[in-house]
Symmetry: C2
Subunit: 181 residues, 2 copies
Amino acid sequence: MEVSVLRIGHRFVRDDRITTHVALVSRAFGASTVYMTEVDKSIKESIAKVGNIWGGESDFNIEIVQDWKNVIYSWKKNSGKVIHLTMYGINVDDAISEIWKLTKALVIIGAQKVPREVYTLADYNVAIGNQPHSEIGALSIFLDRVFKGEELKKNFRGAKLRIIPNGKGKRVREASDGDIS
Amino acid sequence: MEVSVLRIGHRFVRDDRITTHVALVSRAFGASTVYMTEVDKSIKESIAKVGNIWGGESDFNIEIVQDWKNVIYSWKKNSGKVIHLTMYGINVDDAISEIWKLTKALVIIGAQKVPREVYTLADYNVAIGNQPHSEIGALSIFLDRVFKGEELKKNFRGAKLRIIPNGKGKRVREASDGDIS
């Protein structure tokens, strides 16, 4: 299943670090593209730096868009489904078996209040619990549900460094030809 | 299992919104207490406001501490285990069966670089995948693993408002005596 993320309602400067986390989570947990409006271009640079060292550069994109509605319209035109993450939605665990049937999903996450029409434009309004929390937390758990935890062991192609998981400290090695990358 | 969270390395102002998300995620996904150093007091106020409306006020605390090491020492003295979330650790899905055996866990999450000694003070260094991402994302998935998804349907006692999960918009009702609260 191909998953992309649309980040809306970003408030310039104030939300920059939150939006950087949104992009990092999207990349780490298996999304293909993040669409964002009006963000500081340093966010794109940070993510490029991460991809350069830790891999998967060609599998993940950030696209800066002028109009988020156009992203939704063109996604729907291309037979993609739209999933809006909101505390008012259906619990993810009640919706996930439907979502697993999709081949292409656009996940919308907002900062603070989201325009009313997002609720009606979305094919699914899905809640990661019905309590207020964080769009970063919501996106993380959503991607984890979609990819069934396999995203946590995903191989990132073309990495320069790889971590050797360790219970007591940091162990890192240079990536080699023997890696599946 | 009782889980508390220790947030270290918060950089004043710059990290305020990230730390607010840490607190919101901790509350929403079933942690009891968040220990924080040097944060803006508006964070405590935001969380109190959320608890007042959406419930669980008496089940969740934020404690501002002077020295994070003392939190670790006194936690260990009281037979609690310490789990540090880090991209260098053992994959959560390889560690979770051990973690489920614990009765009291303190989860440490850092902002950016974490002092070396955290790795040795921790009983477990656990990775939510071995890629760089977000302490908010890491904490969310960790709590979801610990509480096996049940945290997403948890009842928050004393709520003034409750959401009626809805696929197409917002539905909220006032909490009543019939609620298990």
